[in-house]
């Protein structure tokens, strides 16, 4: 009996011991498992970084790229000439990564840094805060004569190569340079403060010109681009089937143009010769850095004016019948990259691929709106082409057009003027159309001679630079800025001019652009797309609404890669439909939710619709219009065995592709080269010594490790 009790006692004690050990094991797992990775203690990742990417055309590569594993350099903050000179003349710890302020990031400084051969990367500070990112006097990475090689005056002795007017005086051409190191901007103020205070000032700043000792704070910039040499090479490599693992090297730039015929026509309508007025604007621009394409002056101002003019004309649509001309509102994409959209449109015209088999002889005249925000002398300026004036018919038509618009302008606080007759057209899509056929054409811009926009195609072409932004408490959606009221007058001018040119009669007094529409459009395009106007025109689907609500910054005005969704194109197509279309109540079978290219006479589009009186739900509407989209994709990429890559016929721009994890910027401390070498050699010596030791141990194992004598049996 007693023995059995002892057995039970022992069993219970063993079980208790097991439980205790098990619980201890679990506890230690939990406490040790809540540890940090060593890499997160070593590296600080800067997430708000935007890189300069590589693009290619038929003959060159431009932009920036890093080494495969990134470029590592000691951080040096340059905010005045002293720090710049210190880096170039005395800095001993090369390679460096230069941290520049917005005022210092210009061609001169960058060239000096490049020539010193001491830097391996550049970071530029670009936050929303104007104290850390002051606006420079001017900054334009475009060239001084944009689009000249592909334009109307290429090879023209008198007007070509900006002989008469240098359009973009402030252009430094940095966009078209091939940098051998990466350039990035940092957009988050906390992170720029971290870089300056915790990295540079703490470890790297020289004390009275004397360089600091290691360890120093370094930055690794990774932005490895896959494409190289030129478009022809990278497209060939992407399409070549010799690779077992097909790789994407680059993608062609391109998207869609948006076109919309204005007047209502019967089912059997065929356009007559010289019966259509082209009212054009471009939809895209570029800048040095990815996704930062604000384009306020170039060309949101033009887009807004044209859309507002379309809306104003809508009320008088019944004045347009088979005795008047038609207006074709055209929004071209890819124009900033050697006129992708207009070249493609003309190519499609030749092939009969446009709706109504549109051709150049259907076009009676062209009116293009260009930049409109920085009006020189408070006026909008009318430019015409001097070469087409050689034809007396066209010359008199142009003069008529100019006097018509000047008259209309007189009634609108004298807002318009005409430039010198001997001056050529500024960079504009009209140039491509005139290359095909000479028709009377005018371009309306805000500059009389050289550009008034000091930030042409740069990251500074913002709402606040064109005075279209306020710090109002209601977010400014309804607040009418100076720019908005001025652009409304411009839109009214445009609407009345188009009316008179199309119908031949003076415009009615009531034909005026809506100031509210212009204000709303400026807000939605430049400040935030999560606005009521856009909510009205998007498809009535949950995903569309959620997508819009999640947008934190304005849509980028960049043509982007062909095949990728471009929100600007979609929203402009919807806005144009909304402004010139009619609400279709009965026959909604043909109504679709997605915008597509169609050759039909009329298109039907579902929209979310205006807010109901309960301010919560919307009435879904079907809108009937003659708005559609056409391809804006360079024929160079569609023609088999195209061999005009070095020529100036079709745009050849592509954008390099990059791996998903290829963009990175992180900060860490680095030791001196001496320390790195000594650690490495120490390790190697240790390995060799241990190998030798083990060899000898192995050889003399018998002597060293005596076998235990087997127990006698």
């Amino acid at each position: 009996m007693i023995g059995q009790g002892n057995e039970k006692e022992k069993g219970r004690m063993t079980r208790l011991r097991c439980y205790r050990q098990f619980i201890l094991f679990i506890l230690s797992c939990i406490s040790l498992g809540a540890s940090e990775r060593i890499s997160s203690k070593t590296y600080v990742i800067v997430s708000g970084n935007v890189a300069c990417i590589r693009r290619l055309n038929g003959t060159h590569q431009v932009g920036c790229s890093s080494e495969i594993n990134g470029n590592v350099g000691v951080l040096h903050y340059i905010n005045d000439t002293d720090s710049l000179n210190w880096l170039i003349n005395s800095g001993p710890h090369q390679p460096y990564v230069a941290l520049l302020t917005s005022l210092n990031f210009n061609r001169d400084t960058v060239q000096q840094l490049r020539n010193s051969k001491k830097i391996t990367g550049i970071i530029v500070i670009h936050t929303d805060d104007s104290a850390t990112t002051p606006l420079p006097d001017s900054f334009s990475p475009a060239d001084k004569c944009p689009g000249d090689l592909y334009g109307l005056y290429h090879n023209n002795q008198e007007y070509g190569n900006c002989k008469k007017v240098t359009w973009n005086e402030d252009g430094n051409g940095m966009f078209f340079e091939d940098f051998e190191f990466p350039i990035s901007i940092v957009t988050n103020k906390n992170e720029t403060d971290y870089l300056i205070n915790n990295c540079y000032l703490k470890f790297n700043q020289p004390t009275q010109g004397v360089p600091r000792e290691y360890p120093l704070c370094a930055v690794q910039m990774k932005s490895r681009m896959a494409a190289a040499k030129d478009s022809e090479t990278c497209i060939r490599r992407t399409n070549t089937p010799t690779n077992l693992n097909p790789d994407k090297y680059c993608d062609a730039l391109g998207d869609k143009n948006v076109i919309g015929f204005f007047k209502d026509v019967p089912e059997d309508y065929k356009p007559e010769k010289k019966s259509i007025i082209l009212a054009m604007a471009r939809m895209d621009s570029y800048s040095l850095f990815e996704n930062i394409y604000p384009s306020a002056d170039n060309q949101v101002s033009g887009i807004v004016a044209l859309l507002a003019a379309a809306e104003a004309l809508r009320k008088y649509k019944d004045h347009f019948d088979n005795t008047t001309k038609d207006i074709l509102f055209t929004f071209l994409n890819g124009e900033a990259f050697d006129y992708i959209g207009s070249t493609r449109m003309l190519y499609d015209m030749d092939k009969g691929a446009l709706p109504l088999k549109l051709k150049m002889d259907h076009i009676d005249r062209i009116v293009e709106v260009n930049q409109l925000a920085y009006r020189e002398g408070g006026k909008i300026w009318i430019h015409a082409d001097p070469v087409s004036r050689n034809d007396p018919n066209i010359s008199s038509e142009i003069n008529d057009m100019i006097s018509t618009i000047l008259d209309i302008g007189k009634n609108l606080s004298d807002i318009v003027g005409a430039v010198d007759q001997t001056q050529p057209l500024p960079p504009a899509s009209t140039q491509k159309f005139l290359q095909k056929t000479l028709v009377p054409a005018l371009v309306l811009t805000d500059h009389k001679k050289t550009f008034t926009n000091k930030y042409y195609n740069s990251r500074f072409d913002l709402a606040k630079t064109i005075s279209a932004m306020v710090n109002a408490s209601d977010n400014g959606y309804n607040h009418v800025t100076d720019q908005a009221s001025n652009l409304t007058v411009a839109a009214t001018l445009l609407a009345r001019s188009l009316y008179t040119l199309a119908t031949g009669s003076p415009a009615p007094e009531g034909l005026m652009a809506e100031q509210q529409s212009v204000t709303h459009m400026l807000y939605c395009f430049l400040i935030s797309p999560n606005c009521d106007l856009f909510k009205q025109v998007i498809p009535p689907a949950r995903e569309a609404f959620d997508d819009l609500a999640s947008q934190k910054s304005p849509y980028p005005f960049y043509v982007s890669v062909y095949g990728q969704i471009n929100n600007v194109t979609r929203i402009i197509q919807r806005l144009l439909t909304h402004y010139i279309g009619t609400v279709e109540k009965n026959h909604t079978e043909s109504c679709t939710s997605s915008e597509k290219a169609s050759l039909q006479l009329y298109n039907y589009l579902w929209m979310a619709g205006p807010l109901n009186s309960d301010n919560k739900t919307r009435t879904v509407t079907c809108v009937k219009s003659r708005v559609t989209q056409t391809k804006a994709y360079s024929p160079a990429f569609e023609i088999t065995d195209y061999n005009g890559w070095g020529g100036f016929q079709y745009s050849t721009w592509t954008e390099s592709s990059w791996a998903t994890n290829a963009l990175l910027l992180r900060v860490f401390l680095i030791p001196s080269k001496a320390m790195e070498t000594s650690i490495l050699s120490g390790g190697v010596i240790l390995t060799l010594v241990s190998m030798v030791l083990i060899y000898f141990l192995n050889k003399k194992a018998d002597i060293l490790f005596a076998h235990p004598r087997p127990s006698s049996l």
Partner: protein
């Protein structure tokens, strides 16, 4: 396989197989042949099959040297001229490097 435990005729057979095989554009067989049978051919005391093995090993060594020369020349030529050859170089490449011309 430990050659010490193999019979002499089998050693000769093995050496011959590797020698013949190397002619099928497999220079590594010749390389292995020359290294593996080196001791057998030159350092071991005389036995009947050794003369034949010696000829095979010497010929394998010559073949290896020729192949090393060919491959080295081609690799150096290609690496230095790949960029200059442009389209031709791309046509004969399986893996085209990214990010460089």
């Amino acid at each position: 396989m430990d050659l010490a435990k193999v019979k002499d005729e089998d050693k000769l057979n093995l050496c011959r197989k590797y020698y013949i095989g190397g002619f099928a554009f497999l220079p590594f067989l010749w390389f292995v042949n020359s290294v593996w049978f080196f001791r057998e051919a030159f350092l071991k005391p005389e036995y009947q099959q050794q003369k034949q093995i010696k000829t095979y090993v010497i010929r394998s060594m010559i073949g290896t040297a020729i192949w090393i020369a060919i491959i080295t020349t081609w690799v150096v030529l290609f690496q230095t001229n790949r960029v200059a050859w442009g389209i031709t170089a791309d046509k004969i490449s399986f893996l085209i490097p990214k990010g460089i011309p």
